[in-house]
């Protein structure tokens, strides 16, 4: 739907050899129902959707696989290792996810703290190193620390995913400077993951020049998830276009927009 010249001329968004049209990736958790989820994904324009690996419910009373509601031909399924607190667990979940047979991408999470869900960077690096060796395309969820991001790139990650703020917090981009620095220093794509709360957060995040955003709760927990998904799509496009356009410099003092010449005596 976007026809802005800058977006048309934008470089392709490629991760691990796959090119995507949309810079917005969305999660599939926490929706009030599956129909709302599918409509929200549609409205977001996202091609990449994240899924989690969990036990099948053996009494089969409730959840069917989320795949009943997602068309793997149209959507790129990005499995995560959410809920894993050790490198060994994350590696185990990633291997199980790959065995489902869709692709060899994994959104790697190794959580280090229950309250903040902040990443355990040591476990993350350990798991990333193993999974890259096994041929995975690793998208590593990390904090906004440059040195960790550089180490993840060195380990062979296909993308680095610094957080905007803690998972599910909706606090927005707390540290634009660090995210900008990571983007400036890394060669692999930088996709901000987690913490976006509303459209302006997504826009500001994209204005930092990052390659994309992944979000879940901001859409799923909105009062109208489908409408918010639409807003996020516009915000990501707007933020990307603004970044490509190049913003004016900031000034501490005002400068008139109208000419000073030609004023009456």
């Amino acid at each position: 739907m976007t026809t802005a010249v800058d977006l048309v001329r934008d470089a392709p968004f490629t991760i691990g050899g796959r090119t995507f049209q949309s810079r917005l990736m969305v999660g599939t958790g926490k929706y009030p129902d599956h129909e709302t989820m599918t409509r929200a994904i549609e409205a977001s324009g996202a091609e990449v959707v994240t899924v989690a690996v969990r036990r099948v419910d053996l009494d089969r009373s409730k959840q069917a696989s989320v795949l009943h509601y997602l068309d793997p031909k149209r959507l790129f399924l990005l499995a995560n290792t959410a809920g894993c607190y050790t490198a060994a667990d994350a590696i185990r979940y990633a291997r199980l996810a790959r065995e489902a047979g869709f692709n060899d991408f994994v959104k790697l999470e190794v959580i280090g703290d229950e309250e903040t869900l902040l990443p355990d960077v040591r476990g993350l690096l350990e798991a990333a190193t193993v999974l890259v060796k096994e041929g995975f395309k690793v998208l590593a969820y990390t904090n906004e620390d440059l040195v960790t991001a550089l180490r993840l790139e060195d380990a062979g990650c296909a993308a680095v995913m610094p957080l905007a703020s803690p998972i599910g917090s909706g606090l927005g981009l707390l540290n634009p400077f660090s995210v900008r620095t990571i983007k400036r220093r890394l060669r692999v794509p930088v996709v901000v993951d987690a913490g976006v709360g509303t459209a302006s957060d997504a826009c500001v995040t994209m204005e930092q020049g990052v390659d994309g955003i992944l979000m879940n709760t901001a859409i799923a927990a909105a009062q109208d998830p489908v409408a918010m998904a639409h807003a996020m799509r516009l915000a990501v496009d707007a933020g990307r276009a603004a970044f490509l356009a190049g913003r004016m410099p900031r000034r501490d003092v005002a400068m008139p927009s109208s000419p000073l010449e030609g004023m009456l005596d």
């Binding site: 999660g27 599939t28 958790g29 926490k30 929706y31 989820m37 994240t50 899924v51 989690a52 690996v53 969990r54 036990r55 099948v56 053996l58 089969r60 959840q63 696989s65 989320v66 795949l67 399924l77 499995a79 995560n80 959410a82 185990r92 291997r95 199980l96 996810a97 065995e99 489902a100 998972i167 599910g168 987690a194 992944l214 979000m215 879940n216 709760t217």
Partner: protein, 70 residues
């Protein structure tokens, strides 16, 4: 006829017939082998091998699939 063995499936103890293969176990649980990934004693068993692996007493089996997540 009371011959059964005990295994742990997704963290729960279950009594099953001796000599059952993983494929037969899935069938008994009414699960489509294409829709689940099977881990047997911490080792992933690929679909083509499900019919070849027999379940032994005390085995731990995990049956997983994709659910909504972020």
């Amino acid at each position: 006829m009371t011959d059964t063995i005990e295994v742990v499936v997704n963290g729960e103890r279950r009594a099953i017939a001796p000599g059952v293969t993983l494929l037969e176990l899935l069938d008994e649980l009414a699960l489509d082998p294409r829709a689940v990934v099977v881990e047997h004693n911490r080792r992933i068993v690929r679909r083509p091998s499900l019919a070849a692996v027999r379940v032994a007493p005390g085995d731990a089996i995990e049956l997983v699939h994709f659910v909504g997540g972020g």
